[in-house]
Symmetry: C2
Amino acid sequence: MESFRMKMLEVDLNEGRAEEKSISPDLIRKFLGGRGLGVRLFVESINPNVDALSDKNPILFSTSPLTGLPAPSMVKCSAVTKSPLTGTILMTLVGGYFGTGLRKAGYDVVKITGEAGESKILQIKNGSSSLREAKEYKGMSTSNTQKYMKKRFGEEVEIACIGPAAEKGVKFSSIIHDDYVFGRGGAGTVMGSKNLKAIAVSGDRNLPILLKEEFDVARRNIIKKYSKSKSLDKFSKYGTAGVVNAVQERGILPTRNYQEGVFECADKINGDYLVYNYVKDKETCFGCPVACSSISVVEKGRYSGTVTKGPEYESIIMLGPVCGVKEMDAIIAANQKCAELGMDTISTGNTISFLMEAYERGELGEETLEKIEREPVFGNERAMMELIGLIGNRIGIGEILGEGVKKAAEELGFPKLAMHVKGLELPGYDPRGAKGMGLGYATSPRGGCHERGLITEEVFGKPEPVDRFSTEGKGELVKETQDEMTILDSLGMCVFPLHNSKVSISDLAKLFEATTGLETEVSDLWLAGERAWNLERIFNIKAGFTSEHDVIPSRFLKEPLQKGPSEGSTVELDKLLKDYYRERGWNDRGEPEKEKLEELGIVAFFNF
Amino acid sequence: MESFRMKMLEVDLNEGRAEEKSISPDLIRKFLGGRGLGVRLFVESINPNVDALSDKNPILFSTSPLTGLPAPSMVKCSAVTKSPLTGTILMTLVGGYFGTGLRKAGYDVVKITGEAGESKILQIKNGSSSLREAKEYKGMSTSNTQKYMKKRFGEEVEIACIGPAAEKGVKFSSIIHDDYVFGRGGAGTVMGSKNLKAIAVSGDRNLPILLKEEFDVARRNIIKKYSKSKSLDKFSKYGTAGVVNAVQERGILPTRNYQEGVFECADKINGDYLVYNYVKDKETCFGCPVACSSISVVEKGRYSGTVTKGPEYESIIMLGPVCGVKEMDAIIAANQKCAELGMDTISTGNTISFLMEAYERGELGEETLEKIEREPVFGNERAMMELIGLIGNRIGIGEILGEGVKKAAEELGFPKLAMHVKGLELPGYDPRGAKGMGLGYATSPRGGCHERGLITEEVFGKPEPVDRFSTEGKGELVKETQDEMTILDSLGMCVFPLHNSKVSISDLAKLFEATTGLETEVSDLWLAGERAWNLERIFNIKAGFTSEHDVIPSRFLKEPLQKGPSEGSTVELDKLLKDYYRERGWNDRGEPEKEKLEELGIVAFFNF
């Protein structure tokens, strides 16, 4: 049997040169693809101490052997780089059609180094690549960039591009593909620093499947499990917005910069309210029958005509309750504005809510607020809209807010009001009523993030509820969740179907084996997940992060929630961390023990 | 030889039915196509006294035998309906690809009557048509409507759609196709009243050319004249924005609601300023080598990321100097906002400038301004932006402003400050320094409009300068200009190449003859132009318009400009009109004499 091959395109923007490399089967076996493979190829390409915005910081786009195949939800493309927001490793994913497009264009991975002299587009088409002039798109919003690029390059290209925020160096700028987002941590900012406005991919390469019959069996099995899931039907209808109620019921819905855990107007921002008043259409990523993405339209009032994908749960919470905003119209408009400017909604909302709390405490000087027209108090949706514009365009206070909440709060003198971990703005679950989530925030390699391991047992009571206030067994639970997520990210599969159906890691092992011809046990996948996770940890340690950085804001440690179903609780982080380090096979300083690294086969990356 | 055929699709939205009709060769000979043919088919389909927003008002989309052929600039599609803004006949045109798309889809004309029960899309594809569900696009901005429609109907469809303003009944709503606009007079409002969100056309019909060799000769001759024109080269570079300087130099650049004719910051809004600071790319209509459309981007400041087609001259003037606004950033952002909401920029800017003048005179009550946050004074670009949103979404004062400047000024009590003719807001040339333009405004069938006859001899001194302050010979000049424009609109040719090259009506007669096989002398085209013009006049007379409505605002008649190159001048309209009526063969009441109508062969339409 022929062996499974993956190809990487290495683009050097300094020299304007590209080279093709093949990826060894051993790397595919050990890192699968997507996140794992991207991380592995990234860490060998960078000194962890370089400035994230220097031309020495590469950015990799990495797909999996499954991406774009006719099995459901195999859609994700990873981007791996060093985060200019946090200084940690940054892995971020996008859905839609970009990963599929990249593979069809001839490459499984693209590594981009250096910095173009002038704004450029990387075009990859049927196995060949070129750098194209991009000055006509400079400063364009993301939807217009894609619109005018399609007029030039053809409607069939799939595009990943940045917006004005990234061009201006806003530290939490995203990369936008269609309506989908490589969010968090500033992957867009890195592209901006490289003068790379966009990547356009197209082609018609046949994607290899080595054992076609086995693939078909594995695929049908997964489809059958999808079709039997009522939970997935519900998820199709409501998308991520459907979880607002569950989070509110547990009293962990972040409100007014996490001062509270219950939002008084949750019924005006939940899934039902969105679906019945705003959702006009559904969209779906490549080959996914779930179509969880909503297209929402504001029909009345000031924001009439606004259209947005989603908004997703996180955007609703961060541009809604976290800023005290209760109008769904404004949440949709803010979400759309962030997308057009190319900024992460979580970081944007979180940073604005910090400012609102500082302002309400009367602790901001007048000169700080000089260019703000609208009073930045919780619930003032128009102030939020104004601040989004100021941040994205780096005007007045937007200049410092665009550095992220950690730096902004330090510079303005209120570090304790900044709700972040390692500089990454926290998302939409209050850990005081979901302690495993708190541990997850503390240990996520890119900083305070829910996507590196959402403890569904705590937050939704799924698949089986656990005591969300207890610290018992949370080290093991969080580790498992993180490793499982790493497997999915490496295989390029969307997490939602797994959370909402009986599809198992074992099903995915069969699919991977059938595709690649590489013998794959369930345990191989678990090891691959753990391996990539540890490799990300190693990068961070080498970049200067220690266990001291595995913290969450003191608000969660010392200030109990004052009301609601999680009233009175705080997070016992030390206990959780100790448990977690032990489960991970890490020492008390949070460093992987040599035995663990030997077991994972990555000892060479760590300097004992 | 086979005879040239044109086909009309008649769609009845009441019944959800469509029928195909053939158009007689006699009509093609007498009305050519586009505007003339559309007007002819319209007047037989309506009682001129019906309410423009009732289901009895049809809207016709009409192309010419030349539309979409491989001769340059044969791009225009006409829309004909009764205007809900003015009550006159309304003929408006769009460039781009819609006319070509409609013909390739199988029809030369589409007539739409009735009213759909729920929001619908009319899809026409390769000779068949269907009404499709449109509720998912309700309330969507125009760019998003097109984006999501293309996802559903395929990237190859050409779309004409309305935005939120039309859905809410703003009386000067436009129909948007790609970045192009069927502007003025509320054709979009009529579509909105019919619950018709969009028309999507696609197909691959071969467009007939009956005498191919003759066509090729005629076509090459025109192309040669294009290529020899330096003026056209300049027009390619600057587009319509290039005329700002000429208009300023003549002191007829409308400023602060036409109180002045010289704008102190003209050098910050002219073609050079636009091209060197904002224009990133060029766009072109089907088969046009001129590519006069600019794509402009705001890169810095509050409006960063904004992208717009143009802005065209009229939009620059009406959203700039007429409102006292000098920031090109804001003009671009306002232009884009109007496009997204689907509103005519001339009417929008004109109406806002009326409000500003009324406000500055201290004549507006507080309750009128209740929902306005920003002071509506000349030069306050942010107030202008706010008012655009209020009008498009019909909030607060936007409710009455959305009725158009005539009604708004009457309702608010200051009819003399409303700068309109027959209810259509005036555009960007002050007639006090271009008296033929004043006559053109007074007699344009759709109300105060420059497009029904731009007197280039006065405004740009082209092709030969005339004394712009004189009334001598203006009746004849205006009549000729109007008839020439009607020929072009009927042939579907863009006017700009004719203004900027030596292409002549005789060249177009040859092209039309070669295409249709119908013997066509130059005089036949001139007669066709005059015929259609008179037919529009007849419609208006039957709808209740008399010579009393052939007026321009008293400001132009009684208040001389106070400074600049047109200082001291007013318009002697009575003298101009008398001369014009005589040239037209109309009586003193502005009604066509029987002899004239017999000469034109349309006596049957007038009730003597």
